[in-house]
Symmetry: C2
Subunit: 414 residues, 2 copies
């Protein structure tokens, strides 16, 4: 996927280590001895970070979600490190919070920081017993291996069914100071964020207050991760955190204004790219889907329509099959929880090779099936809906529904 360019922001390498003062590492600590891949990752800042986070709204929450919330409340929104494991979600375990706390203590002791400065996260199988020993036995090695190049090992440690590493970072200027903001994400299935996303860790060297960091994060989650749906299953362990260590040397951003907007846009660019990477790597996906709804009375209205279409299993199957079945798109628009005026809707299907108007003014159009098939044969498909009911717009992202989604999830635990 070609990254959209934004003036004043340059894409750079480094992921969570792109910002000054951050190091990372990842290794296989043997949480599931059968699986060879990295399962334990760490991100560390050499100085304390103002920190914001959003969490899943699923009422069944992973133990690490509860522990991280408590930590940030206790520390006043200050953190120094992330510890994250894959292969086990540490959810629905009787001793889950105890394990998450003990893990934080191990991290704190090894790094010489406070346990409440640790963000702890887990992803993997829900309801599988979890033990402290793998964490204990590898903490020294994990910490001693922290480095500026460690982002690659760290991102490997958070992958589950992901097929690609998801990292993005940008460089930009605030008050003439060079700043960096980057992150890593994991996620492939069980994605239908509700005020959060799959696991996502972002770091920056911008100096920004906890309050403004939280405001920027909450605003941007709404237009990025919350408009992403792979399968409609809101995970128990969703979390996104942003750590800001201030080492770029700009004056602390404490209110809205030009500096805040520059910072917020960097956060938007990284989270937008991450959202698209998550959509394109949805479990079993063969096609990336972007649905744009324009002409709505307000953003929420537009987002409801775009998300309804992106979420429809029938639309997703039709896109997999390259079938320009506009009836399925109209059906999904029709059950979106907003008052669409069905007589005014128009729908266009587009890709890199062209576009075709399939529906206008409340009725299907006759179009060249041959042209439509060519357009839908591409691996990035754009569904554009115009409502003619206002000026607002929204985008939603997802992927097609394929045999491989079923295969991956028919026997996830083994």
């Amino acid at each position: 996927m070609i990254k959209e360019q934004f003036e004043g922001y340059k894409y750079i390498e480094g992921g969570v280590c792109a910002a000054v003062g951050f190091t990372a590492n990842g290794l296989n600590c043997g949480i599931n001895p059968v699986k060879e891949k990295n399962d334990l990752g760490m991100v560390y800042s050499e100085v304390p970070c103002n920190t914001a986070a959003v969490y899943t709204r699923n009422k069944v929450k992973g133990a690490p979600i509860i522990v991280t919330k408590n930590h940030l409340a206790k520390s006043g929104g200050v953190s120094r490190a992330v510890i994250v494991n894959s292969k086990n979600a540490n959810t629905c375990n009787a001793n889950g919070e105890d394990i998450a706390e003990k893990t934080s203590e191990l991290v704190a002791k090894e790094l010489g920081i406070k346990p409440e400065e640790v963000i702890v996260a887990s992803t993997g199988v829900i309801g599988m017993p979890i033990f402290i020993e793998p964490f204990k036995n590898h903490m020294k090695e994990l910490v001693s291996g922290l480095s500026k190049e460690g982002n690659t090992d760290a991102v490997k440690a958070i992958m589950t069914t992901d097929t690609v590493q998801k990292e993005v970072a940008v460089e930009f200027e605030v008050e003439g100071k060079t700043c960096h903001l980057g992150g890593m994400a994991k996620g492939s299935g069980m994605i239908h964020p509700d005020m959060a996303t799959t696991l996502n860790f972002i770091t920056t060297d911008v100096a920004v207050s906890v309050e403004m960091l939280q405001k920027a994060l909450s605003d941007i989650v709404k237009v990025t991760y919350n408009c992403l749906s792979i399968d409609g299953d809101t995970s128990t362990n969703d979390m996104v955190s942003v750590m800001a260590n201030g080492l770029a040397g700009n004056s602390l951003i404490t209110s809205e204004g030009a500096q805040y907007e520059i910072f917020k846009k960097a956060l938007y660019i990284v989270m937008l790219n991450m959202t698209k990477m998550l959509a394109a790597d949805g479990e079993g996906a063969s096609k990336f889907l972007e649905c744009t709804c324009t002409g709505a009375p307000d953003f929420d209205f537009a987002a409801a329509v775009a998300k309804s279409v992106i979420h429809s299993p029938l639309v997703k199957c039709a896109m997999f099959g390259g079938d320009a079945n506009c009836g399925r798109i109209l059906c999904a628009i029709g059950y979106a929880p907003v008052d669409v005026d069905v007589k005014k809707i128009s729908v266009t299907l587009a890709s890199a090779v062209g576009e075709v108007l399939v529906y206008k003014d409340g009725a299907s159009l006759q179009f060249s099936e041959e042209d439509a098939a060519k357009i839908l044969a591409e691996d990035e498909i754009y569904i554009n809906i115009s409502l003619e009911q206002g000026q607002a717009s929204a985008k939603a992202w997802g992927c097609d529904l394929t045999y491989d989604y079923v295969k991956i999830n028919g026997d996830y635990r083994s």
Copy 2:
């Protein structure tokens, strides 16, 4: 699937023709010349019928839905015939209402009834041009072939991706008079009813007022069809109608009481069985799923939990794979839109060969994977959830998500 027995009610053959005074027919009128199957069906009552109906809440509605609503409003809830076609949903067509009206007029003329006494319905591809000629050219043949054995041809005419014919009828007594109530349904995909179902036509010879008929239907839809989800896509053409011609000779039921309850239970039995048949024949289904939620504060609470689990693609895939992944069930419970107390939940998986408790008091249990695999290898799976938050319960029905669902819907139109 073995039908549940209810005292005082006997299952009989005949579907929509089981009740006295009803005949039916079905044939291939050539709506899509490429497809050989029946595509036009009719149900006829020799005397006028009190009639109730519920319709999809999708804002993009098939033209027949709009026309049928108008007809029943005009006739004061009296109908004589159903005309229904498959292969084309007559939805999103500029001339859709005109076609549905003209079809009703053809039916009325041939049967010697009023156009507003005709219930018109369509199912099939959305947004495909539709023409009056196939209806016109076959109306005489359709009417002249009406018979007591015509239910079989009629049910074939409403099938789309259905793999089995769905008919149920029962015999029972009201005031010592022998009564009958039966119906036919179609549906396989695009099923997530919202105040209605897929197409479903029910007939009875009980004498019951329009008001009480509508009340019974609306109440029972809530605990049957509205607790059914195949894929979460609410169809544009969902409709269920009940025609009551009174030929059983009981005194007209005009209020609640013993006679009303007997009639209502008959309607419940037929709709319950139809719901289960629809679930078992979900597109690509290899397993029937029933989720029972007990211990809820009220029915809506229980139904929200049961439906959330039945609807989860990850639960559906796990059941396809025979994977006792209780984490996926807990995840779906957790995002149901009600306040579950996660510390009190218990979950049992059951089938004809046994049951296994997989979750209790907020934590996963260790269980025999071998036993669980045997239980989940059956083709009817029961997921039982206890909330311990009250006395109410609800059931929801669905099926697993398989490769075949993707295959069927990857190229539905061809």
